[in-house]
Symmetry: C2
């Protein structure tokens, strides 16, 4: 059996409570005994039992992370891996561990909320979820502190990628390269999608360009196959767009495939732009022009916000943290203004 605080108290010849206080830095214990306890603890290899401690203090130092999508494994997309990495690093440095939350307990189907309550997590990060789901709404409006990534709540902590700015930057660039017929593909409806789509429309208006409804098409995030299909359709419209903004880098690969299959070259015949800027994409040829979201920083900010909320629940809710990204100029956009 593991060595308990009682063993330690015996070894030191003082009461259990004194030991506990010594270990936890309480003031009402002499410096001398504190040192004695610490030394003895190291000697016999005492480790506090997190379970017992949590039971008593109502604090587990455990953070739940919810990560789902249709495929039930969002980690296939490196972007979420990066997100989780940043979140985790920050959380760990603050003494929190991470538990992956799903919706069953034992083998019974259960809500995320119930699962979180069951596991007594101190807080939850909604990293990749469909925010319109009832289950998620229930979770968000529960008593458990939570932070949302890439979804705006007016009364909740959240951190957003600067989607509007990302699309603006891409549009500016593409426009500056002489493109005027710019197609836009957007993902399933969400906050993110809304922000990006409206930024597209704004920019088109700013540039005084007409929007061809056929060139604004709904597709899917992170699906090469859907993207491939949708780009195929797009290529058959007349006039054909000179440039396509894809929902993300992953989808862009599908688009590129469709374009190649149609016998067109990138960027000579048609230009392509991605979104996300995950590292892998930067290694392929032709290097994709895209907007790099700083997933690591987003994850980190989420952890900071969540832990702050946990540690002082009554702090005023700050406006969403907006994490900037940056343009990555690759080789997939042709300069139409070249002589």
């Amino acid at each position: 059996m593991a060595v308990t605080i009682r063993d330690l108290s015996k070894k030191c010849g003082i009461s259990v409570s004194a030991v506990s206080k010594a270990l936890n830095g309480y003031p009402d214990v002499s410096e001398e005994t504190r040192e004695r306890v610490l030394k003895a603890a190291a000697e016999i290899g005492y480790r506090p039992n997190a379970l017992a401690r949590a039971l008593k203090t109502n604090k587990t130092y455990n953070l739940g992370v919810i990560l789902v999508d249709e495929l039930h494994n969002s980690l296939l997309h490196t972007f979420f891996g990066v997100l989780l990495g940043g979140f985790r690093r920050e959380a760990e440095s603050r003494g929190y561990d991470i538990t992956l939350i799903n919706h069953n307990i034992g083998n019974r189907e259960e809500s995320y909320l119930n699962h979180c309550r069951y596991r007594n997590v101190d807080g939850i990060c909604l990293m990749c979820v469909e925010f319109q789901m009832m289950e998620i709404q229930e979770l968000v409006s529960s008593e458990i502190p939570s932070v949302a990534i890439d979804h705006f709540f007016s009364n909740k902590d959240c951190v957003l990628s600067d989607n509007r700015e990302g699309v603006r930057a891409l549009m500016d660039y593409v426009y500056s390269m002489g493109h005027r017929d710019i197609a836009f593909m957007y993902g399933t409806p969400s906050n993110v999608t809304d922000a990006r789509l409206s930024a597209y429309y704004e920019k088109m208006r700013e540039f005084k360009l007409p929007v061809n409804p056929e060139h604004v098409v709904q597709s899917h995030y992170h699906s090469t196959s859907h993207a491939q299909q949708d780009v195929q359709a797009l290529l058959n419209t007349t006039p054909r767009p000179t440039c396509i903004l894809m929902t993300d880098d992953y989808s862009a690969l599908g688009g590129i495939t469709a374009i190649n299959q149609a016998g067109l070259r990138i960027p000579e015949d048609i230009s392509v732009v991605g979104y996300d800027g995950t590292s892998l994409i930067q290694k392929i040829h032709p290097r994709l022009t895209t907007y790099r979201q700083d997933g690591d920083e987003i994850g980190r900010q989420a952890a900071i916000r969540l832990i702050n909320r946990i540690e002082n629940p009554d702090a005023p809710i700050l406006p969403p943290a907006v994490v900037e990204g940056r343009m990555l100029i690759g080789e997939t956009v042709k300069n139409l203004e070249e002589i």
Copy 2:
């Protein structure tokens, strides 16, 4: 405050112990009261407290996963995302949750083992670690059940990708395409590396081909930049190999870059082969010829083994589970035998 078993006992007018037994399917409680308890539990929304339960039973239904690499975020490589996905799905279906384990507790640096003890995980999956580290050795030889992925232990549960067979299959294919000067790049020393490297040598001998020492080079896993450098060097050897087997798909991208920079075409001038077959790689052009490891199944098998070990600790240790992969024939290997 959450509703406890005591509230439930009051509501039903029976003792706490009777309620506990009713809930946990003990035989010495009448069917009638059991139903009454269950109904009341649903009514007042009773959820057992996992902490209290675990404290008493010494079982947390929590599995630790260790995932590290030099970059401190192995999730950047989708392969590990896939692994984790498979592991997680199986674990969850059996009632276990997953906690990510690192090596600090609070903000003190600690060993993995101590962290696992502190969190009272029921078992550990070593998913991505350097097995020669003292810390890992300590963990593996501790009292906590564990399973290793892609590392062979004679006296421990482990699941292996069929690395030997993977390299064999690739070699057979490449040989059948007429390649005779086949370079091999291998990653940092490990079980996996050993298996692959020896399979390479075996095949070379089987084919009665001389091994050019300059063409067998140590590189790194999952590092495009290292791969790029190392391939650069490889291209300067004379004679130049006609085909290069890379450590993994990710590295292959680095290799491809180096080759392109050298002004060579793939596969016309030189052929390239990867390893892993993660989905993303399949979407790029030219489609990489590679060996697909079934990461999802590997993860799943790991969970199965681990949980079996946890649930009956004295079961004999089975030989390693070896998970087969399959060839993915792409467009990066030229057929030298074409007329």
